[in-house]
């Protein structure tokens, strides 16, 4: 393929593959040399093959409110995102530090609340926060772990500039894409994997199972820990992932209708009667977990599971109430939280954040709306946010009214110059903005970070929104070995 096919935008953004047109950065050298000798048509055909592969295995997501005819694929781009061994070592250390701090914070905030006493974060932020579950106060989860599974969202803006965008300490999703994307790349480009030392990600399901089993309650009635995945059901947008993980771990995939509380345990209805579950990896939100404790209308949970939990007879992963750790109102305090519990400076940076609840910040935000990203404190998935530079005057004005009405409901951040990685387009490579979600497993005695993760990519030129619900795609993420 000839050079003029490599489109480069202005140098405004850090491109992870190319230093300048035709000149790859070191981690991408081998891939780029391979790519140069490939024919664009063949690669485009491979791209179409990947899509039919995804359809056949059924890795689709349902769109809420639409019928089953609308099972959609998340678009997959065949150009990998490459991370060098050195870059990964830093990320790994930073993520582990952060995840340990989050677990220490959760234990503290539901017990002695030392961090509030020390005045490091304001009491009101916890007191008035819906993500803080009073039901968890004084309650120690079996094994002592709060967030068994974390998906830390990272963005990059320069050579060594990584920021944590969100901590996703509730029920991070997307790990099935990490695994299936790799599977697809292995099938399509086996030669690349023999040439490059790409670290495997395939151990994740076994690590997940071990990690969950390690958090088994002490007084389990079973000979071996019985683990199950709780899904809201076949119509949930992430059902594929729930089934995929249960299958890969070799554990049962259960729904509310399979479960009941019996003799002090949560048990599943099997062909031979009810069997107690030790560890429930639930993909159901706190609110729906137990109609007797939380939302009484929930059909997705297990009535009485919180009583079993309080008695120490089941491990719920992640623990209820972990949402307080990834709440956007708390995000700006993360560097303090890391320092408070680990005694070290945070290795990974936080994005500078203005809390609109504070008068000075609000003033600054209002004056600079056109340049900022403003997010709802409790929002997720890219909904309900304002991307200043991309918004029209009308949109900004409308948002300003909302912001003035409920300032405490918002935080603002500078528009980050997210790094780009090229995707394959009809015309060849073209840079698009990306983020990265590595997956972290926490058990009572260890933290495992799978080398890789989910790279989400905004497929629209210039777009900074990578969410799949907003037209984003994914890439395979290659962490290189030493």
């Amino acid at each position: 393929m000839c050079e003029r096919n490599f489109m480069t935008d202005s140098n405004q953004y850090f491109d992870e593959m190319l230093r300048e047109a035709g000149l790859p950065r070191q981690p991408y050298e081998a891939y780029f040399n391979w790519f140069k000798n490939e024919d664009l048509k063949t690669l485009r055909r491979k791209s179409a093959e990947a899509e039919s592969f995804f359809r056949r295995i059924g890795i689709t997501f349902n769109v809420y409110g639409q019928d089953e005819a609308d099972e959609r694929l998340i678009p997959f781009d065949i150009v990998p995102r490459v991370i060098s061994a050195k870059e990964w070592r830093t990320l790994e250390r930073g993520i582990e530090q952060r995840v340990r701090a989050i677990n220490a914070f959760l234990h503290d905030i539901y017990h002695r609340q030392e961090i509030l006493r020390a005045g490091r974060i304001p009491k009101e932020i916890i007191a008035g926060n819906e993500a803080f579950l009073s039901e968890m106060v004084g309650m120690k989860p079996p094994g002592g772990v709060y967030t068994h599974i974390v998906g830390t969202d990272l963005v990059r803006t320069g050579e060594n500039e990584f920021y944590v965008l969100e901590d996703n300490a509730r029920t991070p999703s997307g790990v099935s894409y990490m695994l299936e994307n790799r599977e697809t790349m292995l099938q399509m480009f086996p030669e690349l994997f023999t040439q490059l030392k790409v670290r495997p990600v395939s151990a994740y399901p076994q690590l997940l199972r071990r990690s969950l089993a390690d958090s088994c309650p002490d007084n389990s009635p079973n000979a071996k820990p019985v683990v199950a995945v709780l899904t809201p059901g076949i119509h949930n947008s992430a059902y594929f992932e729930h089934a995929f993980l249960a299958d890969q771990m070799g554990v049962e995939l259960v729904e509310s209708t399979d479960l009941r509380v019996e003799d002090g345990f949560v048990s599943m209805r099997t062909t031979r009667g009810y069997q107690p579950i030790d560890v429930l990896y639930r993909r159901v939100d706190d609110d729906y977990l137990d109609p007797l404790t939380f939302n009484p209308d929930s059909m997705l949970g297990v009535p009485g599971i919180m009583d079993v939990y309080r008695a120490g007879n089941i491990t719920i992963a992640n623990a209820p109430g972990t949402g307080i750790a990834d709440d956007k109102a708390l995000y700006s305090y993360m560097p303090d939280i890391v320092e408070f519990y680990t005694g070290e400076q945070a290795i990974l940076k936080n994005v500078p954040t203005w809390r609109c609840s504070e008068e000075d910040s609000l003033k600054y935000v209002l004056d600079n709306l056109a340049d900022l990203v403003v997010k709802e404190v409790h929002g997720s998935g890219g909904y309900g946010m304002l991307v200043g530079p991309a918004a029209s005057k009308k949109e900004i004005a409308a948002f300003e009214r909302k912001l003035r009405a409920r300032p405490a409901n918002y935080i603002a951040q500078p528009t980050l110059s997210l790094s780009t990685v090229p995707i394959l387009t009809k015309a060849g490579l073209a840079p698009r903005h990306v983020d990265l979600r590595p997956f972290v497993l926490v058990s009572p005695n260890r933290v495992d970070i799978t080398p890789g993760g989910l790279t989400r990519v905004a497929l629209k030129k210039g777009s900074l929104v990578v969410n799949s619900s907003q037209g984003g795609g994914t890439k395979d993420t290659w962490v290189l070995g030493d």
């Binding site: 359809r55 056949r56 059924g58 076949i234 089934a243 995939l253 031979r272 009667g273």
Partner: protein, 314 residues
């Protein structure tokens, strides 16, 4: 041991797959008659609808048994729970539900079967497309069956899948015979004589057995030989005796694996014994229609016991 819901999902997944195949076979038989008989075959189209037990639903939409209408009703009508598309969709949905119990080959074959047929059946089916579509249905469902046999452990998962297949198949064969029982009745005028060619051909074709029947019985197609073949011949994979035997075997497997004998085991043994105790003569003495109706009822009762004994539902 497995989730009751999963056992139920497997059972129904394979019932629906079998149903889709059976519906396609029925249609193929009717289609063949329509093409080869000068006097038309509107009676055949009607009996296809009757065999599927869909008379009421059909008559709600149409007032005549037109080939095109019947074909589309049986292949792709969403209001018809036995149409190929409805059955394949239900099979696939159950497959998604029990994804963790299936090998990836079985799941992918099921998903691909659904994708291909969804595409083929997204538009009204023309006569010209019939051959292709029927071939695809046969081919795609065979791939699922092949994957099941080639890749699944022979454990309770397999047993529940097979139970679904044979319960559905037994029901289907019994219905085909029951709809045509009047043809097989040895009325005074016809005793010992060959029955109407077209009629027995439909019966045999709709269970894909015209060739094997010819191998075994040559030209002798009497009510007795056909009834014997489809009810009592243990070599014929769609006969009632064959299905009952397989149901019994799969339940036996569960009895051994779970070390528990349930009501469904008792019922299945009774079903087998009843068939084995009969000859064609005693069946005709009892009355073919009576025999078939009570078989259909017993088979349905057995299915209900399986659902209950193995806790398919909460």
């Amino acid at each position: 041991m497995m989730l009751g819901k999963t056992a139920g999902g497997l059972f129904w997944m394979f019932r629906y797959l079998e149903r889709a195949e059976n519906t396609a076979r029925l249609l193929e038989a009717g289609w063949h008659i329509a093409l080869t008989r000068a006097d038309g075959a509107s009676n055949e189209w009607q009996s296809i609808i009757s065999t599927a037990g869909m008379n009421a639903a059909y008559l709600e939409k149409y007032d005549s048994y037109d080939a095109g209408q019947v074909i589309n009703f049986m292949l792709r009508d969403k209001d018809n729970p036995s149409s190929v598309m409805t059955a394949i969709t239900a099979a696939r949905n159950n497959g998604r539900l029990v994804r963790t119990a299936l090998s990836s080959e079985v799941w992918e074959a099921t998903n691909e079967c659904w994708m291909v047929l969804k595409d083929l059946l997204s538009r009204p089916v023309t006569e010209r497309a019939m051959h292709d579509i029927l071939t695809q249905i046969r081919f795609r469902t065979s791939v699922v069956r092949g994957a099941l046999h080639g890749t699944m452990l022979r454990n309770d998962i397999f047993a529940f899948s097979r139970l679904g297949t044979f319960i559905e198949r037994a029901d289907n064969t019994a219905r085909i015979l029951d709809v045509k029982y009047y043809v097989l009745l040895p009325s005074a005028a016809f005793v010992g004589s060959s029955i109407d060619n077209a009629q027995w051909e439909v019966i045999l074709r709709s269970v894909s057995a015209e060739r094997s029947f010819r191998w075994l019985h040559g030209g002798e197609s009497t009510p007795a030989t056909i009834s014997n073949f489809l009810i009592l011949d243990g070599r014929m994979p769609r006969s009632l005796a064959f299905c009952a035997k397989r149901i019994g075997e799969n339940l036996k497997h569960l009895e051994m694996e779970y070390e528990a004998r349930e009501e469904s085991h008792v019922q299945a043994d009774a079903l087998c014994h009843r068939i084995n105790a009969h000859s064609v003569d005693t069946i005709f003495e009892e009355g073919l229609h009576e025999f078939l109706s009570s078989f259909i009822a017993d088979n349905a009762k057995l299915a209900a016991h399986i659902e209950e004994d193995f806790r398919f539902y909460g």
